[in-house]
Amino acid sequence: MPRRITYRDALREAMDEELARDPMVVIMGEEVAQYNGAYKVTQGLWDKWGDKRIVDTPISEAGFIGMGIGASMLGVRPVMELMFWSFYTVAWDQIVNNAAMVRYMSGGKINCPIVIRGPANGGTSVGATHSHTPENIMASFPGMKCVVPATAYDAKGLLKAAIRDNDPVMFMESTKLYGEEWDVPANDELPGGELVIPLGVADIKRSGTDISLIAHGRAVITCLQAAEILEAEHGISAEVVDVRSIRPLDEETILDSVSRTHRAIYVEEGRPFCGVGAQIAYTIQSKLFDELDAPVLRVTSLDAPAIYSPPLEALQLPTPELVIEKALSIC
């Protein structure tokens, strides 16, 4: 019986293991230490590692994110928690002008080994200000990396790789996934003794022959559900490709999948305009034009700010039904 742990526990394990491996790793953010984490991701770490390694910051994103970036220039490896990724807006100058650009503007003299992590999702009735999904924005800046794990397994492996990476990594989670359980082998069950998933490697979560459902983050789960129904009720065999890391991007796996299935839908919880799916669809049509049996389609959140009203917000997000409907329209 493989070990099953939650997405939340997987993130904590990753941080705990990296804290043990590298004394320069520091966990920082609002309520991460004594409060045990607003979403309990860092629960227990302060008890174990103490004040020096697990640091509560004031509600002051520009200040503490900028501080983390400055410290990373001196070789500290901060793992900064944004209670919600939505709060990137108040730290944006620090993230984009300092973390992402300082290496370039210094002609390569500086690098920022920093991870900024936290939940980036809608669907929890917290209104527009707390429901941003800025992965398309983060991924659009050369100098930054952007990772969005869908499962506990990926969350652990990708976070460990992100902490070891020497460039700034924007790591996006989902409060709706924190409690979900997945198979995550214990370290002693793994061949290398630990779980590290390199950034820039996509994962085929389900094999299929008729259509590629490509996604990142929680939309991967939506695709897996849709794929089951497509198979059972419509006899359509859908392949689900989880890109996992948006930048760097594993185009090869995506293109290989679509060149086998000849149809593709990109599914994401972000908005459609200038979304991640827009980039992926562009790539597919430009590189696989002669392999396509249908136009590349997208399923995204509806193009409006996240609405508060719970039943309506449910309509705003991608669902398996929407994915199925789009799939049937091109199969």
């Binding site: 000849h262 034009f289 002669d290 392999e291 396509l292 049996d293 249908a294 329209s329 091109i330």
Partner: protein, 434 residues
Amino acid sequence: MPKLIEMPKLSDTMTEGTLAKWLVKEGDTISQGQSLADIETDKATMEMQSFFEGTLHRLLVKAGEKAPLNSPLAVILEEGETAPDNLDEIIAAAQATANTAAKPAAPASPSSQSQTKSRAAASEGPSTLLPRAPSPNRRIAARVPGVKSSPLARKVAEELGINLYTVTGTGPGGRIVRADVESAEPITAAPRAATPTIRPTAGPDDTRTNVSTMRKIIAERLLASKTQIPHFYLQVEVDAAPMMQFRAHLNQTSEKTTGNKYTVNDFILKAVICAAETVPAINAAWDGDAIIQYKSVGLSVAVAVEDGLVTPVIKAAEQKTLLELSQSVKDIAARAKNKKLSPDDFAGGTITVSNLGAYGIDQFSAIINPPQAAILSIGSIRNAAVVNDKGAIVSGQRMWVGLSGDHRVVDGAVAATFLAEVRKMLENPTLMLV
């Protein structure tokens, strides 16, 4: 060495400046940092400082004059220095290079910087900056008019040598997808193995003429129609006598009053238009997963021209009177013969009339003009022995009217109703004018 004071770049966007005012005059002693003049830039008026010490020897630009960036404005001589003989040449040279000096030289060619190649290769970007060889003219996968097919289907069809007209699409909207092409393959596989198409042989005395664009299009469209549209054919014989009498009657006065002489065809067209209004189901087209029924009648009229056949359209034909229709047809036929038709003249057709009566053809079955659903084939009017309603054999005038229909759009009964309506109009021509 004389020093030239040049028009300075005083803002990030400045390309020229106006010398608003000199703050010094010839013969003045100048110190470093001293303000020499007010320069008006695209942003504002700013002071120009001297980077040199010495005596102001000569002003080259008057107050109020414009000068480009870097052009010489004044000459300063060092203490005790006298102006060289070639001062004018120095100034002229500086004037000539003004502005060009402001532009940074182009970076060295990337190919000369091989030391960065290995890093560059890893980052995969640089290749996009290298000059690219012009790409050879690629053959574009043939997009077949009127046939929806996916890029992949077209590619596979090309590889397998399959004519997409022979393939039925099962994708959304009737799109031909890869699977359709692959399953169509066995049907054509056998002949393709030997000879892909049946080709004629030409002897030394035979002529081989490359087809014109028009002929190519005719070939493509009619092949598409004949192979993709399930045609069915109806024929009806019409008593043409009432129409002929009516025409003779009309032309007696018309030529004098309007200058127009009605042709037989005018009446036939009018009858078709009226019938299409009465039976609109015929005025339609097949669109894969839907049938489009047109509100207005776009009447395509087949006109024989040199090296082919064109079918210009009389748009909103149902709104035209018989006279207007007659004039439109004459206009369009004349322009067809003179090759004066514009692409717009071919757009919007919904039903076609082909009339071979003038060639003495009694009856025929035309190929549908895609994507329309019906075409009328009009034969010649001939004298014939007819049995009248009293059972007696009398001399009469008869004409065959044929209809080729797209069975996907209309069924036989609808087409028959339509054709009966055409006959009713022709046999009771006054109805057309109501």
